[in-house]
């Protein structure tokens, strides 16, 4: 029926027999509802006067008994006929579209999404919580599988974002509230006080070099391997190149004295009294690209839902570090200027053990998924180490090597064959310190033997997990998330960059562990989806939405509580004199997704879902 000749049969029947509604007995409406509705429209029938009896998924595919199934098919068609008799013609709802995109997160995914959207001609607001954009990619030394310098390929993109006339960059800012619906969002963004006037600051950095509170705080960009003063920019290539004053350690906020930065700043850009400001922006589409963080296996970790790795002594031994810390040690701009030195005593490690799947793929510690990038970056780490310390030995404990990707497997082979990295298949059970060495006890499951390595440095490839506030942010925006806090896509295969909330798109590692090429590809895809949405002046919505009968509504607002899309508002009903005499529920038709939850919840039966009203549903049941 869905083929062209089949559709023609429908059109002919409508014309020849003068039909005013049709029932199609076919597969699921998920597949071909649109096809049959279009066929009906071309023959002059309202598309909502087409009903589909699902004879495939609901009947033929699931039953063996031919006769009973045939009987069921007849009944399904009869039900659809009773419903279509009562169907009313509906017209699509049209809503205006604000042509501006909000991108949340300024890592590589957010940068790519912002640039693509802006280059398509739409305005972009890019919000980043840190003082600079760049995200985790700016921390990396080199990138797999090409070993090109991460900063060198990222910095031009960061600068482009900063200089783009269509992009409004808001760093050190956070999204605190999202209201409205597709095409018509209202975003409230908190701009945290930098205590530096951004318009006056020239980025000379004199305040940073003169600040007397050196070594008071760990430098989080350097993964706590270095210190920073109270006034700082996270890294030299930061965009924007404007420092931030850390109130918690600045002497001025402690005792009102010092003010060295004020004295040295010839532009008068220091503003100790600056306050957080709120900004409200009208937004048409949202791209969420908040990225990831590393699973902190330190015992002090706030990730109490995961069990730590006390057996690896992370947080206890300074030379047991994680992947991002190793990136900083290997980075030419890092705390060791790119020389591989261990944190405890600055010695060059002659033997390094890398352990993969720390946290990942370990149900007993609370994370079942594969973090995807660790096999590749561990091979890269071992390679970088061997390129810098020629007489060093690198061992990698792995469970499997998952190197699916263009040039990925070749990259791992190169580590093994050309750089002589020793791969040991097995897990490590314990690490302890002995005379400055770290004794790594593990198992070689291929040889079937326990192994013991006295390493100078141990690098743990810890799992990628969502940012701390991901669940809270998901609730703010109104998008679903999984048990780990990763955001959920609308369909894992066919709608990978859309959330189930219309107008909200996803990019990068906020959705699941991803590497750079994938994050960039997703970001471009999300930008593409957002620009499709913004390309028309008005937006057509399905008219299958709920409506409240205000005379019957008792104002209990159970519907408001259950609505997963926040579509229900409180509306005042006034008498002739303009005095409010009751409150009723009001459904915003732009936000309503037609799920019917409110209809089922409503105690006074005052909510009806267009296309699925009570009369229609009861008629269907009565026909059984």
């Amino acid at each position: 029926m869905c083929s062209d000749p089949g559709q023609n049969m429908i059109r002919d029947a409508i014309r020849d027999k003068g039909l005013d509604a049709i029932v199609v007995g076919s597969c699921s409406p998920h597949m071909h509802e649109r096809t049959f509705r279009n066929a009906a429209v071309s023959a002059g029938i309202n598309p909502f006067l087409v009903e589909i009896a699902n004879l495939r998924e609901h009947c033929s595919w699931v039953h063996d008994d031919l006769e009973a199934a045939t009987q069921k098919a007849i009944e399904l068609v009869r039900m659809a006929i009773e419903k279509v008799k009562r169907d009313k013609p509906l017209t699509k709802i049209s809503v205006p579209v604000t042509k501006r995109v909000l991108v949340i997160g300024g890592g590589i995914a957010g940068i790519q999404a912002a640039l693509d959207t802006a280059n398509a001609g739409y305005e972009v607001v890019l919000v980043e919580k840190e003082p600079s954009i760049g995200g985790h990619m700016s921390q990396l030394s080199e990138t797999f599988p090409t070993l090109d310098c991460s900063q060198c390929i990222l910095t031009p993109r960061m600068v482009e974002v900063h200089q783009h006339p269509k992009i409004k960059l808001m760093t050190y800012s956070e999204v605190v509230k999202i209201e409205g619906f597709i095409g018509n969002f209202k975003a409230t963004i908190k701009k945290k006080a930098r205590h530096i006037n951004e318009d006056l600051c020239s980025g000379c950095g004199l305040c940073i070099t003169k600040c007397p509170t050196k070594k008071k705080a760990y430098n989080s960009f350097e993964e706590d391997l270095a210190f920073r003063p109270a006034v700082y920019i996270p890294f030299p290539q930061a965009v924007p190149n404007i420092p931030v004053i850390d109130e918690t350690i600045c002497m001025y906020y402690k005792n009102g004295k010092c003010g060295m930065c004020v004295k040295v700043c010839d532009r008068g850009a220091i503003d100790f009294d600056q306050k957080d400001t709120m900004l409200v922006a009208d937004i048409g589409a949202i791209i969420v690209a908040t990225g990831f963080k590393l699973y902190n296996i330190d015992k002090k970790s706030p990730d109490s839902r995961y069990k730590g790795y006390g057996e690896y002594g992370y947080g206890k031994y300074r030379d047991v570090i994680d992947g991002l810390q190793f990136e900083r040690i290997a980075s030419a701009s890092g705390p060791t200027s790119g020389e591989i030195k261990r944190p405890s005593d600055g010695k060059v490690p002659k033997k390094i053990v890398f352990i993969q799947c720390v946290g990942s793929r370990d149900d007993s510690k609370g994370i079942s998924y594969c973090s995807k990038i660790c096999c590749m970056y561990t091979a890269k780490h071992a390679m970088l180490y061997k390129h810098k310390v020629h007489d060093g030995e690198a061992y990698i404990f792995y469970m499997d090597i998952r190197a699916g990707g263009k040039m990925y497997e070749e990259f791992v082979r190169r580590a093994i064959e050309e750089d002589d990295v020793k791969y040991i298949r097995g897990r490590v059970s314990r690490i302890y310190e002995e005379n400055g060495k770290y004794i790594v006890k593990g198992e070689d499951t291929i040889a079937g033997m326990p192994v013991e390595i006295d390493a100078d440095l141990v690098v743990l490839a810890t799992a990628m997990i969502p940012q701390d506030n991901s669940a809270a942010l998901a609730r703010t925006i109104g998008i679903p998330y999984d048990k780990y806090g990763f955001f959920n896509e609308a369909h894992p295969k066919l709608r990978p960059v859309e959330s189930t909330t219309a107008g909200v798109f996803l990019a990068g590692a906020c959705q699941s562990p991803r590497d750079i090429p994938e994050s960039v590809a997703m970001a471009s895809a999300a930008a593409c989806k957002a620009t499709i949405l913004l390309s028309s002046d008005t937006l057509e919505r399905e008219p299958v939405v709920a409506k409240v009968n205000e005379d019957l509504c008792a104002g209990c607002f159970y519907c408001k509580k259950v609505c997963p899309f926040g579509a229900i508002e409180v509306k005042d009903v006034k008498d002739l004199n303009g005095i409010v005499y009751k409150e009723v529920a009001y459904i915003n038709q732009g936000v309503c997704q037609g799920c019917g939850t409110c209809t089922a919840t409503c105690l006074s039966k005052s909510i009806e879902l267009a296309g699925f009203n009570n009369e229609e549903i009861f008629a269907e049941i009565a026909a059984l």
């Binding site: 015992k299 006390g310 057996e311 002995e434």
Partner: protein, 303 residues
């Protein structure tokens, strides 16, 4: 981590399940525990007609038996009107809580065990290990009642494998880097050392059939403690004590030049701080002689 004693209710009456070792090879553990508890103002109500907990020989040969034996004792505690029971032996403790865990999570094991014992498990009895016991009583009580400060002692606290593992069942302290015994030992005035082998295996029941394994493993434990500056070790398990104390003789044969290292039960250490002497606490029953007033070992006396 659970050592916020101040927030927990201080209980002073405890059900007591000694376990078989406490009546034989670890008699001094029983003696010292009872004396220390009394000094701290707590009391024990021994479970009448207690039996084997179902560990080792039972649980390697017959799971039903090991579960039934453990639950029999738990059931007896309930019948006696107790709400908790202290199992000082790490193996008993582990066996008892593991059975409770299995019964709580597997209805078929519960049914089977109830059938075997012709009883229904209704009362929830909290099984307490030796560390939890002192934390519940309150380590401040040890400090308050201290007659002398064991400040020359540098103690390696040895937990062994069963006291804090598996984490999902014990739900007590950190399974890989536990610290609760250190807290207790420090309340006696003694120092503790940070060392690597506190949760490693001592060889346990291999002591009987494969003494060579036990000697190797226990030697490593002792040497690691020594190299991290310890001059004494505290243990909380009769099996560990057997391997670490009695097997030092075999260690001497396997490792010529092995220097004796004193290994005390945690309760004996506390007893010393509370002013009791070695004889009262049963320390003189150990293979490796130890006298508090003489921190340097007297190698000439070997029982």
């Amino acid at each position: 981590m659970i050592y916020m004693t101040s927030m927990e209710e201080v209980i002073m009456k405890y059900g007591y399940f000694p376990g078989c070792s406490q009546t034989g090879s670890a008699k001094e553990y029983d003696i010292s525990l009872r004396k220390v508890i009394e000094k701290l103002g707590a009391s024990f109500d021994e479970i009448n007609d207690w039996s084997c907990c179902g560990a080792t020989s039972a649980h390697v040969t017959n799971h039903k038996l090991s579960s039934a034996l453990a639950m029999r004792n738990v059931m007896l505690a309930g019948q006696q009107g107790l709400e908790n029971m202290v199992a000082p032996c790490a193996a008993c403790y582990n066996r008892l809580i593991t059975s409770q865990y299995e019964i709580a999570n597997h209805p078929e094991i519960r049914n089977e065990t109830e059938e075997l014992l012709s009883a229904k498990f209704e009362k929830d009895i909290k099984v307490i290990n030796i560390l939890e016991l002192f934390l519940k009583i309150g380590i401040n009580k040890i400090t308050e009642n201290r007659k002398r400060e064991l400040s020359e002692l540098k103690v390696a606290c040895y937990y062994g494998c069963l006291l804090v593992r598996p984490a999902a069942i014990t739900k007590f302290d950190d399974a890989e880097q536990p610290v609760s015994m250190e807290k207790i030992v420090e309340s006696t005035g003694a120092k503790t050392v940070d060392w690597n082998y506190k949760v490693e295996c001592c060889g346990a029941a291999h002591s009987v059939a494969r003494r060579d394994i036990v000697v190797d493993l226990s030697k490593k434990i002792i040497e690691d403690a020594r190299s991290h500056g310890a001059n004494i070790m505290a243990v909380a398990c009769p099996m560990c004590h057997t391997n670490l104390d009695m097997r030092q003789r075999a260690m001497k044969r396997a490792y010529p030049g092995h220097e004796e290292f004193p290994v005390l039960y945690l309760t004996e250490l506390i007893g010393l701080a509370l002013g009791m002497n070695e004889h009262e606490l049963g320390i003189d029953l150990h293979y490796i002689n130890y006298k508090y007033t003489d921190p340097v070992l007297d190698n000439s006396v070997i029982r």
